[in-house]
Amino acid sequence: MKIKLISSVVAGAFAFSSSALFAAGELNIFNWGNYTPPDLIEKFEKEFDIKVTLTDYDSNDTALAKVAAGGHGFDIAVPSNSYVPIWIEKGLLLNTRVDLMPNAKNILPQFRDVSWDPGRQYSAPWQWGSTGVSVNTKFYKGDINTSTIFLDPPEELIGQINVVPEMMDVMSMAIWYHGGEVCSDDKAMLKKVNDTLVAAKPKWKSMSYGNMPKYAAEDLYAGVNWNGSSFRSRLETPTIAYGHPIEGYPLWQDAVVVLAEAKNVENAKIFQNFIMLPENAAMMSAFARYANGIAGSEQYMPADMLTAPEIVVPEELAAKGKFVETCPPEVTNIYTKIWTNLMK
């Protein structure tokens, strides 16, 4: 009797540990937090009878560190464009020939062939947007289209600022603030950047990722933020405005890639194809409030997205947004050192 009990427990352990108990297939997605629409996942699960697990991360570096360490069990990840070449070079990705998938024809022309994924073979476009500053105008009435909001904060905002822990975004803004070039290793300029950041840090309240509830609760008055996140905050608290820093602000696009270690490759490919349908791309955008890279999705998106100031950039500021390129490893190392010093 005891032996039966023990063996059934052991068998149960192994059964539980081997995934997929109910559905025909499985898919393990690794994405940014609060970025994947639950209803999109539900639709996908129903349509293909695949059980989806969603694990989240709060920065590109965390994602890369976790995946590169191996043994993670994910099939899909969604890194930002500037990191995709690193993932490719490290052999972390599977070349799934996204360009040959049936829905690839829906990709907007300007995103069909991009410098970080020539020919669009590895990645399907998720959402794209900009990084700027969010300011609760209830507390500050000045000009918000500038990086001084977080690099040299005005009196009213000191101590109430959050900076998202995304290294390349923040570093780019700081470098452009000093008139430098991103990916340059000009030590003199970098020293100025380092000093500015270090001097600004005591004026910040936190360097964390999940900000929306804090802006709503007025625990934060301003900070570095992504346009969609700021948009969602504005929907809850109308006084929250988004600024595009005139010194320069980064544009980014997140890419859905299949990992080389993936156990559910076919399901992953189905997912890549699935999100390139206009209706599904629209679901993404409606949830996280970012633009997407798929043609024809506007008709399915909420109307306010077509006119929102977070999405439609004023003329004079539009030219200041640039897609961040991938920097060579030695330069990235210097940036990492500056960044980790800052985080401490």
């Binding site: 427990v9 352990a13 192994f14 539980f16 540990s17 081997s18 995934s19 393990n28 690794f30 937090g33 609060n34 697990t53 694990t55 989240d56 709060d58 360490a69 191996g70 043994g71 993670h72 069990g73 994910f74 964390s208 990722y209 999940g210 929306m212 509830p213 609760a217 156990k263």
Partner: protein, 272 residues
């Protein structure tokens, strides 16, 4: 001094001035935040500042939340298995290390068994991350065994202590009587020793169960894709979205703790 003789004041050492009020204040402070948490879990509005009206809505939301269900089930499953194995191993180890002369190596055994208590959790978590990563790459196995073994390991010292305490306070004579009556060692064990230390074993199991259920740090670092436990799920939520749903889950957690503590108390307070 003369006052005392004159008026024969009773000795009031039990009343060190200020101690009682400080103590009661401490109790209030200890329970205050928890009670606030519980109260707000019944708040019908999602604002965490204002209490609108009484409602179960967040409990319903948490109950129906698939991720919460999965995480909760996984936590219970993990805790049960880890506590069972840990208690078994701990019982054996307790029997081995108590009621005996110090033999060579007993200190070693004692130190190793208590080692998880001495090392900060983050150190163990990081070490396991590194070690298991190597194994994961080598074998490709992704399942729950890593979590199970990790939890069992740090549960063992918690199960060990109550059992050991119970063994040490036990009377050897009953067992010797059994041996005198020609009972085999196994019979002596199952008929005499085991029933006598049974409360200690249950107490150890419950302690191990709670410790595993509550573990955050080690689980966070060892888990693979889709292996959220309830605490890691809550940690993720705390960093991002704070809805009273989290309050509801937290309250449920508290209720479970209270039930277990009550059980533990009833078991260990019973003197012979």
């Amino acid at each position: 001094m003369f006052k005392n003789i004159l008026f024969n004041r009773p000795f009031e050492i039990k009343r060190i001035p200020g101690f009682q009020s400080l103590a009661l204040f401490t109790f209030a402070c200890l329970y205050g935040p928890i009670l606030i948490l519980i109260v707000y879990s019944f708040n019908s509005s999602s604002s965490l500042g204002v209490f609108e009206s009484f409602s179960f809505r967040w409990y319903v939301a948490a109950w129906e939340n698939e991720k919460v269900q999965e995480a909760a089930l996984r936590s219970i499953y993990l805790a049960t298995i880890a506590a069972t194995i840990a208690t078994t191993a701990a019982t054996m180890a307790a029997l081995a290390t108590t009621r005996t002369k110090k033999f060579r190596g007993i200190t070693f055994i004692y130190v190793v068994i208590n080692q998880p208590l001495m090392i900060p959790e983050i150190v163990t978590a990081v070490a396991l991350l590194v070690f298991f990563a190597m194994i994961k790459i080598a074998t490709g196995y992704q399942g729950m065994m890593y979590l199970i073994i990790a939890h069992t390991a740090f549960c063992i010292p918690f199960a060990y202590l109550p059992i050991r305490a119970r063994l040490e306070s036990m009377d050897l004579t009953l067992e010797m009587a059994g041996a005198d009556l020609y009972a085999t060692p196994w019979k002596t064990f199952t008929r005499i020793t085991l029933p006598m230390i049974w409360p200690g074993i249950i107490a150890g199991f419950m302690l191990a169960f709670v410790i595993s259920l509550d573990d955050v740090v080690i689980s966070e670092f060892v888990k693979s894709a889709g292996q959220e436990t309830l605490p890691t799920y809550m940690l993720g939520q705390l960093r991002r979205f704070i809805t009273p749903e989290t309050n509801a889950i937290a309250t449920a957690n508290i209720v479970v703790s209270v039930i277990l503590v009550t059980g533990f108390f009833l078991l260990t307070q019973r003197k012979k």
